[in-house]
Assembly symmetry: C2
């Protein structure tokens, strides 16, 4: 009889985990395989187990229903099956389940709308513990409810330090002090790497999972970038078989966490050796192996991936034009018929690079332009820092003006709309107007003026209804009740930039 190491209770959408001892000899990652079958009244889920090192094999499962479950584990190293039972309790208050697509928007599985306000800290989990702690403290302030970050370490400007761990057994190249910062050099594998791409370093992954969990506790979705091209070690240029092994391992480990989103790649289009066939193959592995259908997308450098592909749940866009991106959100919705997330629209900061040196005001303007077109923008921060700790890559401290305004947008505006999402309405050319999706369309408007500075506006909706009009200063974060109006009416405005009118039928 094998000792089964597991709890007897888990909450709905929690992680139910079982550990079993098994062989350490040979290469357990490639020579052993195991899987778990989890049986409840409403679902039967089969997932791959994985080797976690030091002779331990783990099986994870995220139940989607309450009640009694049983499990049956099998594996190449088991003689016969291992079985057991557990109870799934109701979800705790803050647990709304994984995020799902809801038309052009998102909602948690329990139906609670989810309005994405994301940020990017590409390799925050790979930084020294003090910086990770600081990152989590900043994230705990509730500015963001999604964060993009990478499994693999990153070799990039402002980011040549060693990660705290590597995903494989082996030793890294030595970093050349005079390493080139030329863009074209950032994807070149350096000499001196010694990796066994068939032997994972489980500590790297368990730490990563720990970070996913901490994010989950903060109510933040983990938008995991599984592959990326900025790499001196060779993780972006493994063989097809090694890639597939990695994908299966990652899925087996991470997919039971309810806050996981899959980003197949950052800047898929600039990998030196990957083809569209590769991306499609990874997607097929993901669709097969992730039994929970976490959200899936892939992020561009220049050409968009074809977001119409059936496996893609939402667009994850990097702007293609210096001057116009958030303003195209509604066109992207129309083109792809999916939620539009603009994960990179330039970051607040002052570095030399144009993708990382816009003002907080300009970034917040882009958030609003995306919002009123029924999409979701993303934050990042790239201020020059004496110790080269930039939020966009390392996490650490936030220094910018935009996070509080983004939180204001989310908490005071998006979270209070009478519906599950916004969509653009065509009213006048010189405003960006939204109403809500669904039944309340026409009972509620947000009209954003961006860099336009009207001292008043003349409004008309219909002859019979009354409308409460509020003036939202999206930068100063004030909301002023202007009164109730009907018919054709003028509202006074302050002649300043970044104003929104919120109009609610009463």
């Amino acid at each position: 009889m094998i000792a089964v190491n597991c709890k007897t209770e888990v909450e709905k959408w929690g992680v139910f985990e079982i550990s079993l001892p098994g062989p350490q000899a040979g290469n357990p990652f490639t020579e052993q395989h195991c899987c778990g079958k989890f049986i409840g009244k409403n679902e039967v889920v089969e997932t791959d187990g994985f080797y976690d090192g030091v002779g331990i094999y783990k099986f994870r499962f995220m139940p989607s229903f309450e009640g009694e479950y049983s499990f049956v584990l099998s594996g190449s190293f088991l003689e016969g099956e291992v079985a057991g039972n557990f109870i799934v309790k109701p979800a705790s208050t803050e647990n709304h389940g994984p995020v799902r697509v809801n038309g052009f928007h998102f909602a948690y599985e329990d139906g609670t709308p989810y309005f994405s306000v994301g940020t990017t800290c590409y390799v925050w989990t790979h930084q020294p513990e003090a910086i990770q702690k600081k990152t989590l403290e900043e994230l705990a302030k509730g500015y963001f409810n999604k964060i993009r970050f990478c499994v693999f370490p990153k070799h990039y400007i402002h980011n040549f330090n060693e990660p705290i761990s590597y995903p494989y057994e082996g030793t890294p190249c030595e970093i050349n002090k005079d390493i080139s910062t030329e863009y074209s050099e950032l994807m070149k594998i350096q000499p001196g790497n010694k990796w066994d791409f068939e032997r994972f370093n489980p500590k790297h992954f368990s730490h990563f999972e720990n970070c996913i969990e901490k994010l989950c506790q903060l109510g933040i979705e983990a938008d995991i970038i599984v592959m990326h091209p900025y790499d001196r070690w060779g993780f972006s240029q493994m063989s097809k078989e090694q890639d597939d092994l990695y994908w299966r391992y990652v899925i087996a480990r991470f997919s039971a966490y309810r806050n996981v989103w899959w980003s197949l790649a950052n800047e898929y289009d600039i990998f030196p050796k990957k083809t569209l066939e590769d991306w499609e193959r990874y997607a097929s592995i993901l669709c097969e192996k992730d039994k929970y259908n976490h959200l899936r997308s892939i992020h561009n450098c220049i050409p968009f991936y074809d977001y119409a592909r059936p496996w893609i749940t939402h667009c994850s866009i990097q702007r293609q034009d210096v001057y116009k991106c958030a303003e195209l959100t509604d066109e992207y919705r129309e083109r792809y018929q999916k939620p539009v997330v603009l994960d990179e629209i330039a970051y607040e900061g002052n570095i030399d690079q144009g993708w990382g040196n816009i003002s907080g005001k300009e970034l917040v303007r882009r958030f609003w332009e995306a919002t009123v077109r029924g999409g979701y923008a993303g934050h990042g921060e790239t201020y020059i820092h004496p110790q080269d700790v930039l939020w966009w890559s390392h996490g650490g401290e936030l220094h910018g003006d935009s996070p509080t305004r983004i939180k204001f947008l989310h908490d005071e505006v998006l979270a209070k709309i009478p519906g599950y999402g916004l969509k653009r309405v065509q009213r006048n050319w010189d405003e960006s107007a939204a109403t809500v999706e669904g039944m309340n369309a026409g009972n509620y408007y947000l009209i954003y003026y961006g860099f336009m500075r009207p001292s008043f506006r003349t409004l008309y909706f219909d002859d019979i209804s009354s409308y409460q009009v509020e003036l939202i200063d999206t930068w100063d974060m004030t909301i002023q009740d202007l009164g109730v109006f009907s018919g054709k009416f003028d509202v006074k405005m302050p002649g300043k930039e970044y104003m929104t009118l919120r109009i609610t039928k009463v």
Copy 2:
């Protein structure tokens, strides 16, 4: 013998004018015709004379060469010809002749480059004298070297007052106190107008000429909008014959002024009753009757006129996209192969309309984005005013932040380039870089960063040359010498918006 009323001397590119008495009976505008032939060593020019009221007929001529000239006048009311002589002296210091096209740019006829920095005061000449005086005082400050304005009065929001004179004999409709400000109503002829569209009011035109002259003394080009659609009196909806009569009258009167540019229309595309054939017919009259080939264009509301038409000398563009226009300047150059003038890219102000409520900063940014792409932007100002005197329409006082920055751009940057114009160079995606046209290309760069805020930039031109680098703060209007550099080098920048690097090979 008829008494010839004229001077015996005129300067090159000045107006030589002769007055003759003639019949007042009947309709001198339609029943009489007259013309002058002006003969110098290098040119023979035949122009139409015109009836100036009270029995006076006038003939005007702009000589393009120095030396002795003779003239011969003929007319339906003259028995035989009237002849005489005059001397053309050298142009005075400030007189460089009419502006001509020079590739994608402009130059005065004497070869002096002309860098257009225009403004718009649609009906400044129709305002009470005190306002006109104020307008000229503001213009005398040298912010602008071109101004767009209309021959006909304008019926538009903020602009329902009566003009000081009308172009025709007759009486206007009474203005309804409750006149609609709906856009669609602004082109409706109101009841009660009584005009004789075959009898001009010469005072209206002589006053207008007086204004053209005053602009000329200030070194400002008069970009005359000959027709426009915002009209309660019927001037925009005359018959074909009446239109042609008007065009011939306007050309006969105005074309001898060297600072005249012809804008066939403001917003040609929204006239209720004009067709493309009409515009082409006016253009053919203009090409035939204006013997000096003043610059010719036509301004859109939404669709551009086909600026590739041979009679069009330059583009006169109203932006088509709320978010992007100046940034398309180089595309427009490529498309039309002519100078690009962006006459309407939203005005600095705070009125309710989106075309008139951007900040000075945003307007100046657009000027620079156009400039470094080898084009020319235009100014306008629309601040709410207690007496409803808005620069864009009436002239008066300027209140905005942009004019001094526009003057800075012209005087300290454009006027000092080592060449006759700028053109875009493709360097990096995150900057807008220009070099000069012609022989000095590559010896001089302007690199504009717009809303990007780099703290430094790494530059490289070649391995062997040295470059002087200056930092231009386009908003604070400072120019700082950063030193001389060569090879690949970093320049420190302030991490602020609206910076330009000026780079000169030494």
